[in-house]
């Protein structure tokens, strides 16, 4: 797993794996429903950290603070080789979002104000883009998604097949 977007992409992969494991060991006749995934585009904040020489702050520590709890870290991560970092703020928390980037005794701070207009949708981000992946889910996540849909379809088919056999024996 890449260090880029470690916090956020790691969360979506682990959740998918946990769900796959749960369904893989469940008896087929217990699965009566297809697996569905809903995704939507959301607002993301992209930043690039660099020194005043222009050199990127590559692999630098990132801490994000949300306006509704500014003293506590909302998310942590690492910039990529170009000093870039992307995160999707909670649009239900309008106000000043702050990002601190630190490396080898040097630090920088950036602020992004999320207004009431952006927050009015009330949508929470379901997916977070990793720099370089362009917002698409990683290969592992895609594979798990396909497997979940296939397993759900198989379970549904087995359920209805069992139902016809019971009718025939009656």
């Amino acid at each position: 797993m890449s260090e880029r977007g470690t916090v956020l992409i790691g969360r979506s992969d682990r959740a998918a794996l946990a769900l796959a494991a749960a369904t893989a060991f469940a008896p087929p006749q217990a699965l009566g429903h297809a697996a569905l995934i809903e995704a939507e585009a959301t607002t993301a904040i992209s930043l690039r950290a660099h020194y005043d020489t222009g050199e990127p702050m590559a692999e630098a520590q990132v801490v994000v603070y949300a306006p509704d709890d500014p003293a506590r870290a909302w998310a942590r991560g690492v910039t990529d080789g170009d000093g870039r970092f992307v995160f999707a703020p909670d649009l239900g928390a309008p106000g000043r979002w702050t990002v601190q980037v630190r490396q080898a005794g040097h630090g920088a701070v950036a602020h992004v104000d999320i207004g009431e207009a952006e927050a009015a949708t009330g949508r929470e981000p379901l997916a977070v883009a990793s720099v370089g992946a362009g917002g698409a889910p990683g290969i592992l996540t895609q594979a798990v998604m396909v497997a979940l849909v296939a397993w759900g379809a198989l379970g549904t088919a087995l359920y209805f097949r069992r139902g016809r056999r019971d009718d025939a024996s009656a």
């Binding site: 020489t53 500014p70 601190q100 005794g105 630090g107 701070v109």
Partner: protein, 239 residues
């Protein structure tokens, strides 16, 4: 008019440190002051430095609640000021377990103190009256030991943005006091052998070779940008 050092006031206010509706100011030279420069963190020119004292004098300290936030990109901070004062004469070697020395605890309104202005200023009195920053210790390289006292009379004003570090600092609430920190990056002065030799810090740093004769020698802080707030940036200018 020379104001008396605020050490006595600090002692009187000591029990208030950390209480609600207060702001406590710390200063640190980090572990480079308390532990010195030792391998692999030698000076850029290969000296180990063990400090007996690092005497710094801070003055005209003001904490600010700035909105919009101050970026540390100019000499003037706009916002609501909280005067902390000075002068404070401290030994950065004689620090707590976090390598910090408490300068003052001041009653403060609740809020986020996200900017700090302060000066390194010549001490009004004491062992090193007239000097703003003094290093006393022993340098060692290739088995040769050099006792030294390095001192500067430079007065430097700093306008700093938000503290940057492991935790976000400067929050004063009804339940808890806040903290701010002046951080002196001593590697900007002496450089570091474990950092790229052609990096900006090492190119600008003085190192120790220039002082290898030992004894009392003066130096200049010009262009070294020693003052920070954690890893946060300060705009500095000579006074």
């Amino acid at each position: 008019m020379i104001r008396p050092p605020a050490i006595a006031a600090l002692l009187a206010l000591g029990p208030m440190a950390g209480h609600a509706d207060t702001l406590t100011l710390f200063a640190t030279g980090e572990d480079l002051a308390t532990e010195g420069f030792s391998a692999p963190r030698l000076t850029r020119d290969g000296w180990a430095l063990a400090f007996t004292r690092v005497i710094a004098t801070f003055d005209d300290v003001t904490a600010w609640r700035a909105d919009p936030p101050f970026a540390g990109d100019g000499p003037d901070i706009a916002g609501r000021p909280l005067e902390i004062g000075g002068p404070f004469i401290v030994n950065l070697v004689d620090a707590d377990e976090d390598d910090r020395v408490a300068l003052a605890t001041t009653p403060a309104e609740a809020g986020f103190y996200n900017a700090l202005s302060w000066s390194l200023a010549p001490a009004p009195d004491g062992d090193f009256a007239g000097y703003s920053l003094v290093f006393e210790g022993v340098a060692t390289r290739d088995g040769v030991e050099v006792p030294f006292t390095l001192a500067t009379r430079d007065a430097v004003a700093h306008a700093c943005g938000e503290y940057v570090g492991d935790e976000r600092k400067g929050f004063v609430t009804a339940d808890a006091g806040g903290e701010l920190e002046i951080t002196l990056h001593l590697d900007h002065l002496f450089g570091r052998a474990d950092r790229p030799a052609d990096g900006a810090m090492n190119r600008e740093a003085l190192g120790f070779d220039a002082f290898a004769e030992g004894g009392l020698q003066e130096f200049s802080l010009s262009g070294l940008h020693v003052g920070h707030v954690g890893e946060g940036h300060c705009f500095d200018r000579a006074l």
